[in-house]
């Protein structure tokens, strides 16, 4: 941010007279013909110019350059001088047959128009309402200057790949992605069973009842238990919980009978009313 920009707002806010602008408006441009005659001291040799022009980002950039080079205040934009210098650059560009962007010519037209309006005598009555013909250009120049500086600041920021580099470490080999398991609802499960039963008429020898379910669940539990016993006998009383009551005993007994029938377990009872013992049919049962 330039000094001018910093100073301007406070001056504008506090001063109702706004002297700086009022002083210079008539001085420099309405009665300042002498300045037009001033010998050209801004001449830049064409070869240098060519290099410089490549560095310009457009007419606003070029104008800013001219203003800053002459240490002019943007707010008091000396249009006459700037226009002349600008036109000289444009002329040289043409002579050098540099490809001249249309924007440069447009700006030349704008400058010429401002110049002519400034040179016209202003009717006294209209003084208050009349816009300074330079105002829009000044606004654009100031705005562009801020953008230009912002771009430079941005370029100065420490950035990845150039000033800083991301530091990373490898996850240890034991880091394994976590798999999120799909959700299954009870409805899906039941519907699936319903579907499969519908298709399999051959298997449909009975309805599913609570009793049967309990028995089959107990069959699975018993099988697991005896399998874990590694071929040793397991007492019948270990196959149910006392808390399950009579129903538990019955279900367990039915399950044992079913398993014996399917020849999945062996059953031994030493004498009537003695405890029943069960074990897997094969001694070398391999799983648990």
């Amino acid at each position: 941010m330039s000094e001018q920009d910093n100073q301007a707002p406070s001056a504008e806010v506090t001063s109702t007279a706004r002297e700086p602008v009022q002083q210079l408006l008539p001085l420099a441009f309405i009665h300042g013909e002498a300045m037009l005659e001033r010998p050209e001291d801004l001449y830049i040799p064409p070869d240098a110019l060519e290099v410089i022009l490549e560095a310009f980002e457009g007419p606003l950039d070029l104008l800013l350059y001219l203003i800053r080079k002459q240490k002019f205040d943007i707010l008091n934009l000396p249009v006459l001088q700037i226009t002349r210098q600008y036109m000289e650059y444009v002329e040289v560009m043409r002579e050098l047959k540099l490809e001249l962007a249309a924007e440069y010519l447009l700006m030349a037209a704008i400058l010429a128009e401002i110049k002519s309006r400034l040179l016209l005598p202003r009717p006294a009555s209209a003084d208050d309402d009349e816009l300074d013909p330079r105002a829009e250009l000044i606004r654009r120049l100031r705005e562009y200057e801020v953008v230009k500086e912002a771009a430079q600041d941005l370029d100065q920021l420490p950035r990845l790949e150039r000033d800083v580099f991301e530091a990373s470490a490898q996850p240890a080999p034991s880091v394994q992605p976590v798999r999120i398991q799909p959700q299954v609802s009870m409805q899906e499960l039941v519907l699936s069973f319903q579907q499969v039963l519908k298709r399999a008429s051959a298997f449909e020898h009975h309805q599913i009842e609570r009793e049967a379910l309990s028995t089959r669940e107990r069959m699975a539990a018993i099988l697991e238990k005896v399998a874990n016993a590694n071929g040793q006998f397991v007492g019948f009383d270990e196959l149910f919980q006392v808390s399950e009551g009579r129903a538990g005993v019955v279900v367990t007994f039915l399950a044992v009978l079913e398993l014996v029938k399917e020849r999945l377990i062996e059953l031994v009872q030493a004498e009537p009313f003695a405890n029943i013992h069960v074990k897997t049919c094969r001694r070398e049962d391999e799983d648990g």
Partner: protein, 210 residues
Amino acid sequence: MAKLAKAQLKQLVEAAIFVAEAPISKVQLQETVLDGLNVSQKALNDVLEELRLDYQPRGIQLVEVASGYRFQSMDSLSPWLSKMWQEQAPRYSRAMLETLALIAYRQPITRGEIEDVRGVAVSSHIMKTLTERGWIKVVGHKEVPGRPGLYATTRAFLDYFSLTSISQLPSIDAFAQLASEPTGDEPLRVLANDAEEVAEPLTQDQEHLH
């Protein structure tokens, strides 16, 4: 270039290993970041050893692998770090759900029996997936030729569906009635909608499988 102070050398080597895209060897270090700095092999070794010790109590460790040095996370942190990478497993197929349902309702049951009911082969993948999920397990073997495993559901299965016992599984008839009920009055309509919603993925799966 001027000789580097030891502290700077350490910072440089440390940063180089961290920003390198792959493990970096001592030779590579010498040829790139240390190029022209005239760092002796001993000085480099010392710095690497110091770094190794510096990081020993930290969450990441300096390790040497075949192609050079790299930092990697502490092994003991893996269970937590694993959670940073999550993959969504695909929805269960219709075949998977039917297999699970059959095991749930008809346990203990062999794979062959499941195939008989479903009329198609049950892939090993399905049995593996359900076993890995911890929902089914082999509880015994059927005494028929080949002694096929008898599958049953597990406690984890019951927990997942908030059941205390398999006997709590809804009876098919009751559910079928509910799902197919003509949407006569308000409360039932809601339930029917629910059922329809659930049914949809199945249909999709079906299409998917054909």
